[in-house]
Structure formats: C-alpha cells, structure tokens
C-alpha cells in the first residue's frame, strides 16, 4: 500500500501533516470594504466583532481508495460564516491549491450576498484540496461521498445547504444529496441546490444569473434615464452567463456590439448577429471562426471599446487600474465575481461611471438556489412563469433597498450594497442575541 499526498511529495512512511489554518489575505481583503460599510453605519466594534469571524470552521481528512488499489487522504473543509439569517448556504470547491482563507472569504461573501437579496441564509463555503482533473469519476465520487459523510452532523436542509461552483457541478451535487439522504434514511432534497431538473432541481437554474443581470440592467437603465431599447452593449464572456445574457438582451432590442470568449473578441458598432454566433459557439465551443460581419479585436482593446453598457462576465479583475482610464461606457454591470479591481473601482468612481456591483448584479443564481430549496421543502414545483416572476421580484426589491441606502448615505452602489448587507445581518444577530 502506498500513501500519496495530493500536494507535496513525501518520503515513504512519512505521513502528511494536518495543514495549519493558514493566515492569508483573501479574507482580510474581502472584509476591508465591509469594515468601512460597518463604520459608516455606525456599528460599534462589539456589534461588528461577530461578523469578522466564521461561526464555525470544520476541517476533515478524507481518505479515498484509488482505482489502482492505493489510497490517498485529501483535506476537506467547510467554513460556516454567520447563521443569523438562517441555515448556511454555500458552494463546494475542488482544487489542488485550495486555501482555507479563500474559503473564509467566500463564506463571508455568501453571507453578504444572501443578505442583499433577502434570502434567508447565512454564508458558507466548502472545499476539497484535490486536482479534480487527475482523478477518475469513480475516485471523485468516493471523495465527495466520504467528504459529505464526514460533515453529516453539520450539514442538511436547516443546517448548511450546498450549492454548485465551477468545479462542483450537477453530478457532484447529486452525490452529496444521495449521501445525505442515505444516511438520513429519507430523501433530503433540500440539502443541496443546483441539482439536475430530473432530480428535484428547479426550472430556470441555467439561465438564472443572466436573467438576474437583465432585471438589474433594466432597473439601472431606467434609473439613469437610458433608453429601454437600442443600447449598445459589450459582454465579456459567452458562456452560461455572458452567452445567455447576450441572447436575452438581443431579443429585447438592444445591440450587442461586442462579445468575447477566451479565444477571441468580436466587435461591430451596429450590433452582432447574436443567435448565429451562439449557435456556432454551441457547435464548436468557441466563437472563433463564426460567420458574420464583425471585427476581431485584441482582447485588451475590446473592453475599452465604445458602448453604453459593459458587462464583464468572465474573469476577476477584467477592469483594472491600467485600463480603467480608457473605459468608454456609461455603465458597468458586474456579471462575473469581482471583475472590477479595487483600484479600477476608485478610478471609475472619479470618472463618474456607475458600477452595479456583483453582489447585487449576479445575485440571480443565489435566488434560484433559494427557490430550489423552497420547492424541495414543500414538494411543490413551480412552473417556469412563476419562477421568473418571483426571481425578478427579489432582484427588484434588492435593487430598491440598495438604492434607498445609496440615497440616504450618498455613497456608490457598491458601498450601498455592502452597507445593506452588514445592516441586515447585524440586525438579525442583534435580535437573536448572544446565546448562553
């Protein structure tokens, strides 16, 4: 029997150590702006103290038999940030360079996001330190099931609910649901969201983030006095979020003047033929080589091309301090997680270009996770119309609440959203009091 370690090579007979709880920066960085929000709200240090730390951090070792007869032990974590507003909800990540501090940041981020969207959850984030690509589906399944089993006492529909992330797809969510259900001796659909539609998932999941972006874009455009039709829009990213958004906005009579993926950036000032491009993308898994009239731009120039609305839906820090000065748009909508860097945010603020922050703009996904949980609890599944209507109500109410804070405190939309989040969580914590 050989013992392998997933991150470092060990001498034979040497056991991998339980990793220390590292003290890195993602959490501190993420929290910095919420610290400012708390100060602006006039929260005292004692009231805010509880929000600066995770409620609970669980580390588990996950032994897994490998296909070749050996076994490996992976590190698994679940960080539960704050339960004031309800059970925890958060994604599961699988990556070889997983860092606990990144999970801490993500868990807290989920708390804030749920609070802004007024869904009754606190934030959590889980992870398994493994390179998903280098393992067979069977190994992956055994890992996910063992990880879930190790956390059984602390997860479940009213404790902590899993939602998908980039590396943890529908299949992974289904394994988690099955493992929890087997142990509970009854079906526990609401323990996990992002399940396939045939396994108690909800309609409208796939398109949820794009629809949310559309709803927020409509509200923002109306607020800024932009026209309801004919806006020229640049969308970075042509996947589930960017691609769907392009289709929705095109159908609504706007001009998608720019669309890109990792390989190529297409631009035409009169608008692209979106349906044709997406059809090509579906067939060839890239926009490259699609027929039609457009200009291929250098991705660097693409994001600074003239438009009314820029929606970065691909990567973090797409708008950074080196290109923020050259951005020529009337409005930025953050489709991805953190596509505008902190420094770029300041530059854009000085230039008077409004940015609708990710915490609000791409919140359509978490709203659908919540809807799936509700439908699983009642056992009654909503028709597509109902899902769509209720989703847009949640986004409209979140937008209105953020705008109200903005007017009251004369701050940016991002600061207003952060303040709203901190306020809602602090109020719930305060009402519940300090137990024991």
């Amino acid at each position: 029997m050989s013992i392998q370690d997933s991150t470092t090579s060990l001498q034979p007979g040497e056991l991998p150590a339980t990793p220390p709880l590292d003290d890195e920066t993602p959490f501190a960085t993420m929290m910095a702006s919420f610290d400012v929000a708390a100060r602006r709200l006039g929260l005292g240090p004692t009231e805010y103290l509880i929000l600066r730390k995770s409620d609970r951090e669980i580390a588990v070792s996950v032994p897994v038999s490998l296909d070749d007869g050996s076994f490996d032990v992976f590190d698994g974590y679940r960080i539960q940030h704050n339960a004031g507003l309800g059970p925890f909800l958060g994604p599961l990540r699988m990556s070889a360079d997983l860092r606990i501090d990144e999970l801490r940041a993500l868990a807290a981020w989920m708390t804030w996001k749920c609070a802004v969207l007024n869904v009754p959850f606190g934030g959590a984030a889980g992870g398994i330190r493994m390179d998903r690509a280098s393992h067979s589906p069977d190994e992956l399944e055994r890992t996910v099931r063992r990880y879930t089993a190790s956390l059984l006492a602390d997860v479940g529909p009213e404790r902590d609910v899993f939602c998908p992330d980039l590396q943890a797809d529908e299949q992974v969510m289904s394994w988690i649901m099955d493992t929890i259900s087997r142990h509970a001796r009854h079906t526990e659909n609401p323990a996990v969201t992002g399940k396939p539609i045939e396994l108690a998932g909800t309609v409208g999941s796939e398109i949820a983030v794009a629809r949310g972006l559309r709803a927020v874009l409509r509200l923002t455009a109306a607020h800024l006095g932009l026209p309801r039709k004919g806006l020229s829009i640049i969308i970075q990213g042509a996947g589930t979020v960017g691609g769907n958004l392009a289709r929705l906005m095109h159908a609504e009579g706007h001009k998608i003047v720019g669309l890109s993926d990792v390989n190529v950036a297409l631009f035409h000032p009169d608008g692209l033929d979106v349906p044709a491009l997406l059809e090509h993308n579906q067939k060839h898994l890239t926009l490259k080589g699609a027929e039609g009239t457009y200009e291929e731009l250098d991705p660097k120039d693409f994001i600074t091309s003239p438009c009314d609305v820029l929606v970065p839906c691909a990567v973090a820090n797409a708008v950074h301090s080196n290109n923020a000065e050259r951005i020529t748009t009337k409005l930025i909508l953050e489709g991805a997680h953190g596509p505008v860097s902190v420094r770029a945010d300041r530059i854009l603020d000085d230039r008077g270009i409004p940015v609708v922050p990710d915490i609000l703009a791409n919140g359509g996904g978490v709203v659908l996770s919540y809807f799936e949980w509700v439908q699983n609890r009642t056992g009654l599944y909503w028709i597509a119309d109902v899902v769509e209507k209720r989703q847009s109500r949640f986004l409209r109410e979140a937008w209105d609440a953020v705008r109200k804070v903005q007017d009251e405190h004369d701050v940016s939309l991002r600061m207003a959203a952060n303040m709203l989040a901190v306020q809602r969580v602090a109020e719930a914590d305060h009402a519940r009091g300090v137990y024991a």
Binding site: L85, G86, P120, W373, A431, G433
Partner: protein, 427 residues
Amino acid sequence: MSTVSMAANQAKQDEFNPFKSMAKGFDTAADHLGLDDGLREVLRLPERELKVSLPVMMDNGSTRVFEGYRVQHNFLRGPCKGGIRFDPHVNIDEVRALAAWMTWKCSVVNIPFGGGKGGVICDPRTMSQGELERLTRRYTAAIMDILGPDRDVPAPDMNTGEQTMAWIMDTYSMHVRRTTTAIVTGKPLNIGGSRGRREATGRGVMISANEALKMIGMRPEDTRVVVQGSGNVGGIGALLLHREGYKIVSLSDMYGTVYNDAGLDVPAVLAHLNESGRLEGYDECEHLPNAGQLELDCDLLVPAATENQITSENADRIKARLIVEGANGPCTAIASEILTDRGVVIVPDILANAGGVTVSYFEWVQDRMGYFWTEEIVNSRLEQIMVEAFQEVAETARKYDVPMRTAAYILAIDRVASVYKLRGVFA
C-alpha cells in the same frame, strides 16, 4: 356584611371573571350540541400542564428563581398555539383558561392548531433587558421538551414581543443544532416573521365589521363608529375602517376620549398619537372623559382595549346596533344577554379578534416552507379565512337560533369534538 350583599358581591365577581364567562359559553354550547359528559370532561381539561422553576442570574449577582408555566389545552386539531405572558399576576388558573380559549379561537377560524398558553410570574418593568433575555432563554430551555413546530408553537402575549420571540427562536435553534424559525410566531420580519402581522388583529376586526354590516343590511358610509382604544387593535382597526368609508366619531386611550360628530380624520389622529404618545392635544375634535365613551351615539361599537367594559351596569345605555369585540372579553355574559335581548348584534372576541392568530398561522406556514408571501397575499388570505369563519358562525347562529357568541362556541367545540371522535381515545 349581609348575606344578600355578599351574594351580590359574589355575583359581581363572577360577572367580572372572563373565564367564568367562557365556561358558561362552553356549557351552553355543549348543551346545544348534546355532548355527553365524558366528552365534556375531555374538552374541559388541559391535556398537559408543565410547571418549571427558572433560576436566573440577576444583574446584581444574586440568583432569583422564577416560576413559569406552559399549559397545552388540546392538540387534537394540530400543534398547540398560544402566547407567553410575563406578568406578576400570572397564575395557573388563568393560563389554563387562556389555553382553552386558544383552542376555541383556532377552531372557530379553522386553522390547524390546538390551544396552549404559557406564562412566567415576573415583573418585566423592574427587570433589565439582560435579565429578561436570560429568563426567556432559561424558560425556553425548561419547556423545550414539549415545544416544537409540530408540538407547540408559542407567540407573544402580555409584556412579550418580537424580541422575546427572537430569543426563543434562537435558543431553540441552538439546542436542536438547526435553524427552526417555525418554533414560534410573532418574530421580527428578518428572522422568519410574516408581513402584515402587526396589523392582522386590526384588519380582522375590519373584516368582521364589514361582514356584520352586510348581514344587518348597512353600508360603511352610513355607519358611525366608536372605537375604545387606539393601539395595535383599536388604532389600526379604526384606520382600516376609516379607509373602508366608515365614519369614526370617537377613539380613546388610557387618558381620555376624542370625539368628532362629523367623523375624525383617523390618520391625523394616529399621527398625533404617534408623535406625542397620547390623544390629548389633538385639535380637530372635542375631548371627553373616558367614562361615557361607550355610550356615545353610534351604530358600531368596537371595544378594543380590555375586558369587562360593557357590563350589567352600562349595557342599558349602549346605543350601538352592532358590537365587534376587538379585545378579549370586553362584554360580560350578563351584558351580552341584555344587549342581545335588545337586538344588538355582538361579533364575539373569539371570531372578531382572531386575525392575529390567523396571521400567526401564516407565519408558521411560511417558516415551514421557507418562502415568504407578499403583504397583499397575506391580507387576501386573511380575508378569505375571516370571511369564511364569519359566515360559518352566522350560519350556525341561524341553525341553532342563538346569538353569535354561542354560535361561535358551538362551531368551535363541534369541530374539536368531531376530530376527537375520528381519532378516538389513544391507548
């Protein structure tokens, strides 16, 4: 003291004991239904009573032991539902009676709960927030074994409110290791409360008045209303009636009565009350002492303050044609008889003020599914339930040829009794 005056005194005490009134209502209804003695006994006695001693560390370092109760009168139709009161006058007889009252109230409006009630003997006015929190948490832990979303769901009552409910929810959730919002109702909106709950009792009063008016063939525009009280029930009730077109001629608070023969501008009165804390000083009206308020000339009287306001002493002088009981037990049994003989219609408390418990029920439903209704949906569902209950009570009153109060008891008891027959005697 002569035997005659002692007897008179006793009669007066009996008249002023709302639980005796309720017991009388129960017996009358049971007679109409022809319930056998065994069933009467079952329905009269509480299923379970729990008495607990609650040691609490006081701010000055001393320990005090409080006494608390939880009585579960009946859980045939569903989990027990009923408030928790903190008051120096709490006693087991009162808690028992109030628990039974909840059984009948939930049954009249046909929501799937039995009745419960709890209380702690304490004086909240002399206690700090921290002491109250520790008391609430200790009380919750002490009665936890008989609580639960499917067992017994407390709610606010005298001297308890949203904050108390939040502590109960938190304590229970921490013990069971999961978020359990459905353990208690009357919570703040951000931790599983329901929209529309604060106005629910007042709204129920308004809906009852509307239905009663239809029944006796009157229109809101022609209805002069006197409301005793101006708080959560009276004030909100008056406001909603005003919006429906009723002419509110009088409102009152602890200190005095406002009167305007042409009709009060209710939103303005309430705005004044909100600002200054009392009705005194509001300009567009006459100011009268509270003593004669109930006898003012009006069509609809809404006693929404406290019990025993309309009694054998003043019943003769009441001018209203219709009384909607916003408070619990505002008309004594004797007064009700006098008024009924004179043709006055009384919509009884267990129906008229059941809007509160109905929205508590909605809160429990919403917590169970985790999805929260808009205020419009809450209000329209409340109306649906209240209208249906009103019509069933009115129908029962016609069928048995009894006043609405007796009819409400008949309906309530019959529902519980028929469930009892279906479920049978366990073991």
